[in-house]
Symmetry: C2
Subunit: 185 residues, 2 copies
DNA sequence: GTCTATATTCCGATAGAC
DNA sequence: GTCTATCGGAATATAGAC
């Protein structure tokens, strides 16, 4: 227990979001932490192991955050989720899902499965939030909650991708219009 | 003029959409075409040159397609655009924008500029289509046309990404709900 | 746990023959 | 325009000393 392992995962998370999983190397992780790439391999023998750990931590983080919001009205919970993406946007990061979905076909089966787990978890939470929010009349939308959840997820995901290309105002346009559509009086 | 150059660009386009720009190699192009990687380098000295050509052809294709739709009602034009994405989805391809936005930070300046050109072209067309469609009462939405264009673009882009991870039904859910939102009576 | 050193493989790119 | 051959570099990963 030296803290190095946590630093490696944290650095890998940042690199996946900025450069993509296939575009960063063990050296990109080792150099800023002032260690050698062999040390990284000690903690994560294969790159796939590192990728799986990054995703698992993200799944856990998502569970913790949404758990804290449970007492809030559903429209507030939704606003918190948008805020998470807003913070990523201000740091020039894209979301894990967006980054990993692009390279999905090149991944080992173990990583593909983890990506699917993450996607399912987010969609499930979002679907329940929307359904409950519609019951409580604080979120408004037409059609099935599941389809709406996919729409919102695609908005958030691509808002970060588009911001990278077109500038950070793209995120704000999308996020603002999205919340207005769902939570107008 | 041997046709080889066109085949190379076509293969590169497919590889960008399936594996990502950084994840395919000159060998991935050469082998299926039964040529050597030196032949690819003859036509495109650097990988960046190849990337730029792929994007330029996509920009041109978009211009041609949308040009053919000019006489149609705007809601029909929108449906055609969704159909283009539907075809990509059925082939397991993601859109160029989605794929290239992820790796954007790793690109040479010349390629980054081309990606931005492509994004601007799509958003501009979509914005005009929405504005005109609202005037003609065949497309309905709230807020600014530009913000709505970004939302729709993010839906289409990520629908292909999510389909890759969650299965092709994700695209249909998103596309159907999207058209219903905009074109309901 | 971290290091040095290295094995192996692959990639982008170039030189020169044909 | 395409080939063979190869260079230089980088990446993942491993072996063995400390």
């Amino acid at each position: 227990m030296s803290g190095t392992k946590e630093k490696i995962v944290s650095m890998a998370d940042r690199l996946v979001r900025t450069k993509g999983f296939n575009a960063f190397s063990y050296k990109d992780i080792a150099a800023p932490l002032d260690i050698k790439n062999a040390a990284v391999h000690y903690h994560f023998p294969a790159k796939c192991d590192l990728g799986v750990e990054v995703i698992e931590q993200e799944i856990e983080k998502f569970r913790e955050q949404t758990g804290k919001w449970k007492q809030l009205p559903e429209n507030e919970q939704l606003a918190r989720l948008v805020d998470v993406f807003r913070q990523h946007n201000s740091q020039g990061n894209i979301c894990l899902m967006g980054s990993l979905a692009t390279d999905f076909e090149t991944f080992a089966p173990a990583m593909q499965t983890k990506v699917q787990e993450m996607a399912d978890g987010i969609v499930t939470w979002l679907t329940q939030c929307l359904e409950q929010g519609r019951k409580n009349k604080c979120i408004h939308f037409k059609g099935a909650a599941h389809a709406r959840a996919l729409l919102i997820m695609s908005n958030l995901q691509s808002s970060l991708l588009l911001s990278r290309v077109m500038g950070p105002t793209a995120f704000r346009s999308i996020a603002d219009q999205l919340m207005e559509d769902l939570c107008q009086k």
